[in-house]
């Protein structure tokens, strides 16, 4: 049981980081970024080449993974999403645009990197033995969890206490009111998209040290991110964090007891049942 709890918490902290990026883009732009998983995958590849192949220091490679994806997110927002949002009143348009970018990123990655699974050296060697051998906690997993939580806290502080952070919150709450208050909405939405994409890149860069990466991992990660933000509530920061931990724990329990495909079947069924009672997730607003 202790082992399941530890696995769940480690997974949950990384998942929360993934969900946070997705929920951020949604709250700012009302766009479900289907390419979030593919951005995660690209972050993993940046890390693989910089840290694994070229020998960059871990921190520098991680920040560069985030920065690279931030720039990609910024470009996507400026040249693809903003024109579509300006020209179409249908939310389906932005959704299909997001799907298009997901397919584009995934297939460009497939062409560039192939289907092979890539891995990098673990951060720290060694295993922590807990409770006289009841549970094992590799130090590298612990490091990933601590770094994930560090980034989550840093983002929360940024959003809470800095001027651009407050502007992000204002745009998320009411775009028109923010505009009237002198907020440069176009810049802030671009910033929000860039931060969301950067978080995906950082999560990918971080988790490549544990699970490796391949070009096809994106759709799976996006689906998990959707589950997390549906549990917590779309567009709500606390919801994304809680959703991440809930999914991490559910996966840890499921994988211990059931085959993986059965675990996900049960997670989907449980989520449908959950949404009957909480149609907007735990903390969500009725976005509609």
């Amino acid at each position: 049981m202790l082992q399941i709890l530890i696995n769940g918490l480690i997974l949950g902290s990384a998942y929360a980081l993934i969900a946070l990026g997705l929920t951020m883009v949604f709250s700012i732009m009302r766009v479900v970024n289907f390419a979030h998983g593919q951005m995660y995958m690209l972050g993993g590849f940046v890390m693989y080449y910089l840290y694994g192949q070229f020998g960059f220091p871990f921190w520098l490679a991680l920040l560069l993974a985030g920065a690279t994806l931030g720039v990609i997110g910024m470009a996507f927002n400026r040249f693809l999403f903003q024109p579509v949002l300006a020209s179409s009143k249908r939310e389906e348009s932005s959704m299909l645009m997001a799907v298009g970018t997901a397919l584009l990123l995934e297939n460009v990655a497939l062409s560039l990197f192939g289907e092979k699974q890539r891995g990098v050296p673990t951060l720290i060697d060694g295993v922590l033995i807990l409770n006289d051998g009841d549970a094992y906690l590799p130090y590298s997993n612990l490091a990933v969890a601590v770094i994930s939580i560090g980034f989550i806290v840093a983002l929360l502080l940024f959003v809470q206490y800095t001027k651009p952070g407050r502007a992000l919150r204002a745009v998320a709450q009411d775009k028109e009111a923010a505009l009237l208050q002198g907020v440069n909405v176009k810049f802030i939405t671009t910033l929000g998209f860039a931060i969301g994409a950067a978080l995906a890149g950082i999560a990918g860069g971080l988790l490549v040290t544990l699970y490796g990466v391949n070009a096809g991992v994106g759709t799976n990660i996006s689906t998990k991110a959707f589950i997390m933000i549906m549990i917590g509530g779309a567009g709500v920061t606390s919801g994304a964090i809680v959703g991440g931990f809930v999914l991490g724990m559910a996966e840890a329990i499921g994988y211990d007891l059931l085959p993986s495909s059965m675990t996900y079947l049960l997670i989907f069924v449980a989520m449908i049942v959950f949404l009957i009672f909480k149609p907007n997730g735990l903390f969500g607003k009725p976005w509609g």
Partner: protein
Amino acid sequence: MKLDKRRDFSVILLILGVLVVLPLGIGHSRYLMSVLMNCAGVAVIASGVWLTFCIGRINICQAGFALIGGYVTAILIAKAGLSFWIALPLSCLASALCGALIGSVILKLKGIYFSMLTICLTEAIRLAFLNGGDLTQGSKGITGLPQPFSGDSALPLYYLGIALLAIALGVVWRVHYSRLGGIFRAMRLNEDLAESFGVNVWRYRIMAFSIACALGGLGGSYFSVFTQSVYPQSFTVEHSIYYMLFCFLGGLEYVSGAMIGAFALTILFELLQDFQQYQSLIYGVLMIVVMLTLPNGLMALRSFSFSRPFRKGEAK
């Protein structure tokens, strides 16, 4: 928005007419016929997605219902020994019932919650068939299904596809251009307002979703006999997304939109067969290009008008 019913009807009639007489021109070519059968099947499924757009829901689980239709047909034929002609309506019914049952739960959700849940639902349906034991035969799927027509000719199966497409379009047409269609449009614009005018929104939502699922099941059933097999991977989330693209490319304001998109893209991919490894990439680029350049679809292009020359007394 004013509905251009005549243009819509002209396009449907023209395409169905061409499809009916085409075998005379192509000399019963098996390859060309299989391409067109594929187009017809895909268009039947996509017309269901189009219908859910009418009620303001983005349905990304149509592939799941096509999978239900395909598996019910396969199980009834291969395991229960029933004829395809009994299995086809039963598959359609099974998909509609599953749609009504699941819809009564998930149609409470709106916007992105609904869309994200439908993605998970497609996966859940696929995993359910994957874990179905001997009945669904896991990842091996059910293969070797007998064709419903005797003889070597692909012609009867081809005409079956055209007939199913005509039925699907007929159903969607009847719904869209009737009082029901007006109710659906009102619901898409503002559900609360529609409810305040006495519309039983819950009932109509489920009705629209069930019809859409039935069309998914119909297409899935056709595919299972057309390809003589069904696997959990036959219909995935990616397929559901392609059906959405078909609807967008054709045009969301026209019943013929889903059919135009399905035929245009399926034929395009047959022409690009040499680049099959880049299929998803081409789809991705197309989605981006369509969204940037054709937000209202092909049917909204002015030069696509069939009705303009017939209108009388119209101010220029």
